[in-house]
């Protein structure tokens, strides 16, 4: 019965919600609202589970003096400072984020927000360093990725179009240099011909492309975002949606039982 009862609850809840989507009239509309209210209450309690797991794991690390235990101790202390300050503020002002709450005006504004912002701001430095190291023209695909990324980065910012010509000029020069080295090292003249033709093509299309990017910057940006990236992304999303529907039906009909373990 330990497995059957949760499966029956899952089936009944799932079917009720599906039926309510297509028949939003009583009693289904009311049932859906009630189920959703239960879900809101239950999801509130999941935070207690999360806290239990977080505190349990870090307390254990402190007790065992495991590697990095001072960080765990910092986390536990921060948790209790936040909790106690929050409770005191709530008792004194009626709400934790009331305009006169010291929790909001000091702790949240001058500790929590700057710490969280700083953590995320560090990403900018790692992204810059990673872009420098990872965006190398090792293969044709990598080259396409780095050229597209550079164009998007420049079309997203004002005056980006003004630096587009020199940036693409250097990129074209590098591409021609690499292609001509391939041409030089080719076994025969005919084997190297594609590299030569590609170099000539790059030189020929450079000026028209730069002109389009300079004059139609936002249109180029829109086209890359709405056509190139969207086509690939839509395919991925359709796959995810179909997979989600299939998984949902498997759970509702009791075929997928891994969530019970």
């Amino acid at each position: 019965m330990k497995r059957e009862i949760p499966m029956i609850i899952t089936f009944v809840s799932g079917m009720a919600i599906i039926i309510a989507l297509f028949v939003p009239h009583p009693p289904f509309g009311r049932v859906e609202e009630t189920f959703n209210n239960w879900y809101i209450i239950i999801s509130g309690f999941t935070m207690i589970l999360g806290l239990n797991s977080l505190l349990g794991h870090n307390l254990d690390k402190v007790k065992r003096k495991a590697e990095g235990w001072p960080y765990s101790l910092t986390l536990i202390l921060s948790f209790f400072i936040t909790l106690i300050w929050g409770i005191v503020s709530t008792i004194r002002t009626g709400h934790i984020f009331a305009s006169t709450s010291t929790f909001r005006n000091y702790y949240y504004t001058y500790v929590f927000v700057p710490l969280q912002s700083t953590m995320f701001a560090l990403l900018a430095f790692f992204i810059a360093s990673a872009a420098y190291r990872a965006f190398r023209a090792r293969t044709v695909n990598a080259t396409l990725l780095l050229v597209t990324a550079s164009i998007i980065m420049l079309t997203q910012v004002p005056k980006g179009e003004t630096v587009m010509a020199p940036v693409l000029g250097v990129a074209a020069l590098l591409a021609v240099w690499k292609l001509m080295s391939e041409f030089e090292s080719a076994a025969s003249w005919t084997a190297g011909l594609p590299y030569l033709l590609l170099s000539i093509a790059i030189v020929a299309v450079y000026l028209p492309i730069v002109e389009v990017l300079r004059t139609q910057t936002t249109a180029v940006n829109d086209w890359i975002m709405n056509v190139l990236q969207m086509g690939a992304k839509r395919g991925i999303w359709l796959g995810i949606a179909l997979g989600g529907i299939a998984m949902g039906l498997r759970i509702i009909f009791g075929i997928e039982k891994s969530y019970l373990t």
Binding site: H95, F97, S117, A128, S150, V157
Partner: protein, 277 residues
């Protein structure tokens, strides 16, 4: 050739220092560039502009301090526009740690325009449950929030809320997104109840939302710091986003420059290796 090898292997600490100087300097000298607003930003601005006076806009705060540099100035610009048009605001959020940011911005901008709590704006706060909250709001906004605002004041005592029961009574939802909550607004509020949805989002979230723009489920996307700067310009009130945009411009150009430098070093080093082998 050692020069090119060095170009291919610049110490990351040097990159960090140069990037820090590049980002900080525009703020020190208050540098701004003239922007041509993107079509998407104009669409959002024009939609808000077209709403009749007294209409209500639901603002959803679905971000926290980590996305604050992009979304907080955007929120302030949108709120300025909303209050200048004498529209009303209901503020709520699905990121518990972010809702107070929205609340602070709302209080700040409302005081600039002399707006009164309960008459011109209301804060409903946070409720866990995301999809369930969005769906239930379509049936009864008051009941979804237990008939009280974030401080426990009964909604029946707030004059603005007396005529607002479901999505049918609001003009649109304007979500500020650092994750996938925006998609939930589209999938549950727009698809089921037909409410108009506009989204302001971080730059990295925007590509996930273009499909909804193309399908017509989303009125407009205001994307990243660029979108925020566009909105400030359209609302004729240049502030943090415009200065931030200059810093972002320099940072983007610097990163592209580093990519080129890295590739010069890489290509010359590779051709040297090939020749020597």
């Amino acid at each position: 050739m050692k020069f090119f090898e060095k170009l291919a292997k610049i110490d990351r600490r040097i990159i960090f220092v140069i990037l820090a100087i590049t980002i900080i300097s525009p703020f020190l000298f208050n540098l701004t560039f003239k922007l041509t607003p993107l079509e998407e930003s104009k669409r959002a601005f024009n939609f808000i502009n077209s709403l009749p006076e007294g209409s209500t806009v639901i603002i959803s705060i679905d971000y926290d301090a980590s996305s604050m540099p992009e979304l907080q100035p955007m929120l302030e610009a949108v709120l300025r526009h909303i209050f200048s048009r004498n529209l009303r605001v209901i503020l709520l959020g699905h990121w518990a740690a972010g809702v107070p940011l929205g609340q602070q911005a709302l209080e700040k901008i409302a005081s600039e325009y002399g707006k009164v709590y309960g008459e011109d704006f209301v804060v409903l706060g946070y409720r866990p449950g995301l999809q369930a909250v969005i769906i239930n709001m379509g049936k009864n906004i008051h009941a979804t929030f237990d008939n009280v605002d974030y401080e426990g004041t009964p909604l029946s005592k707030l004059p603005m809320m007396s005529n607002i029961k479901t999505y049918e009574d609001v003009a649109c939802v304007f979500g500020f997104e650092a994750g996938n909550v925006g998609e939930m607004w589209i999938q549950f509020a727009n698809a089921r109840y037909g409410v108009k949805v506009l989204l302001g989002c971080t730059g990295v979230v925007a590509p996930d939302l273009f499909q909804y723009r193309q399908s017509g489920q989303l009125v407009a996307i205001v994307s990243g710091l660029r979108g925020a700067a566009d909105y400030e310009r359209l609302a004729k009130h240049e502030a943090f986003a415009s200065y931030g945009m200059t810093a972002q411009t320099f940072a983007h150009v610097l990163i592209v420059a580093f990519i080129i430098i890295g590739n010069i070093g890489y290509i010359f080093t590779q051709s040297k290796k090939r020749r020597s082998s």
